[in-house]
Amino acid sequence: MSESPASLLDGARSVVGVRDLRRDFDGRVILDGLDLEIAAGEFVALIGTSGSGKTTLLRLIGGVDEGATGELSVPDERAIVFQSHRLLPWSRVWSNVALGLRGPDVRARAIEALREVGLADHADAYPKTLSGGESQRVALARALVRNPRLLLLDEPFGALDALTRSKAQNLVARLWAQHRPAVLLVTHDVDEALLLADRVVLLADGRIAAEYPVDLPRPRVVGTPALFDLRRQLLSGLGLDPSTMENS
């Protein structure tokens, strides 16, 4: 896998450039010549059926998987929020947020990031005292404290209950609007993708099979006619019959 500066690929505005990316696991091809660009500050949601390679693509872009071939250009300032929070149970909350941070005032910076997700009070607690939603917010603070140019979210709200998930989605929308990193959100939740993203890309057969720009003002509300229409398109793109899914 060769890396090249983003500017070579598609102008200076591109933060992520992926060309002809291939990844297989023991001969089973997951990504098969995939191309993807993400512009600076753009919020992209990646959807696809289970096993389509969404997480594989995120891990390659995030640099935790290096087994692919093709061209991949990503910024060094990137941070991942994993599907499970992956906080260190033996480190206090602030210390988890500060993990790997360098420079002065590490604790103060960590606490400031915690304040942004509403958990500054828990800075000195251990992760075992947090709820699932709180843990995920700490994981979000741990990513944001690095001022990433690219934020990678791997189904971060999948395990949360509906109410907590909705709050977490609003939090992400607000933080994205304030900090404007480019975001790649992996999700299987069509509504979540439509609420948050500028563009929804559909992964199928190892490539980007379709793209759906979501050119709607924010904040968005599920159930408005324009979103409803896009939702039908996305669901049929996923191979589901929208008429049977309307109340899901």
Binding site: R86, P89, W90, L99, G100, Y126, K128, R146
Partner: protein
């Protein structure tokens, strides 16, 4: 037989709490009740022992608790206990210092580097199968009957439990946490310090407790076979003089030494592992 005094505390009638707002189960016992429960069994044993000895059921070869206390006082007043205890503790400390360090180091290297595990593990597993106490004759031939052979034996015993538990502790660390730490830019040493060692620490503590137990056991055997000084020397002297009261004092001292070190590790463990969210028992 005379009537037993009520040494076993009566069980308090269960108090029914209407509703517990926290939703958590209230502990059934306070610290006082727990303490009494823990002491009651021991007190009962001592009482039965004293009563049985007083009634003459135990014969001449089993001293009464009173006689054991008297023998202990005798040993302390003459200063023999202190000097021999110091010699023994010194041996255990030296043996443990080397044994724990080597075991920890081997466990770390094998745990962190797969290639090293392939090289280190098979010979260690083979050596582990030799009961290390059987090495005493060999060590006496190699190192003489002085302190060196005893320290060498105490070194070997604790090495294996520490090695095994460090290795397995490291293998049990959640690889997702290691991956996350790496993704946040932690270097190799930082990953070891912040993720792998703390993650392995519960298992390492288990290894430490086993190692300390083995160390004391090894001390007994090593000192019983020719030693100029030590608890074991006192023990074999007492055997030759048929001083059963002194033998009992020494047995109790072995027990206390074991309890003291175990308690030390438990306190350390409780402090270091307070982040754990494990099941504490009901």
């Amino acid at each position: 037989m005379s009537v037993f005094p009520a040494t076993v505390p009566t069980v308090a009638a269960p108090t029914v709490k209407a509703s517990v707002p926290t939703g958590r189960r209230r502990p059934r016992s306070g610290p006082l009740r727990t303490g009494l429960l823990k002491a009651s069994g021991l007190v009962a044993v001592l009482l039965v022992w004293q009563l049985a000895a007083g009634a003459g059921w135990l014969g001449l070869l089993i001293p009464s608790p009173g006689q054991v206390v008297a023998a202990a006082v005798e040993l302390v007043v003459s200063g023999r206990l202190q000097s021999n205890l110091t010699a023994s503790v010194d041996r255990v400390a030296k043996g443990l210092a080397f044994g724990l360090s080597v075991g920890l180091l081997l466990g770390l290297v094998a745990g962190l580097v797969k290639t090293a595990e392939h090289v280190i593990d098979p010979p260690l597993q083979a050596l582990r199968m030799i009961p290390h106490l059987a090495l005493l004759p060999v060590f006496i031939v190699w190192f003489g009957i002085g302190d060196t052979s005893k320290i060498a034996l105490i070194l070997i015993g604790p090495l294996f439990p520490i090695y095994l538990n460090v290795l397995h502790g490291i293998r049990g660390v959640d690889s997702g946490l290691v991956e996350a730490a790496r993704s946040f830019g932690l270097g190799r040493l930082e990953v070891i310090r912040r993720v792998i060692l703390p993650g392995a620490s519960p298992q390492i503590f288990i290894g430490l407790r086993q190692a300390l137990g083995v160390a004391w056991l090894t001390l007994v055997v090593a000192e019983l076979v020719a030693a100029p000084q030590g608890i074991g020397t006192l023990l074999s002297d007492a055997r030759d003089a048929l001083r059963m009261d002194i033998i009992f004092v020494l047995l109790i001292i072995y027990a206390l030494l074991g309890v003291a070190t175990d308690l030390f590790v438990r306190v350390l463990e409780k402090h270091s592992l307070r982040w754990r969210a494990g099941f504490d028992g009901e």
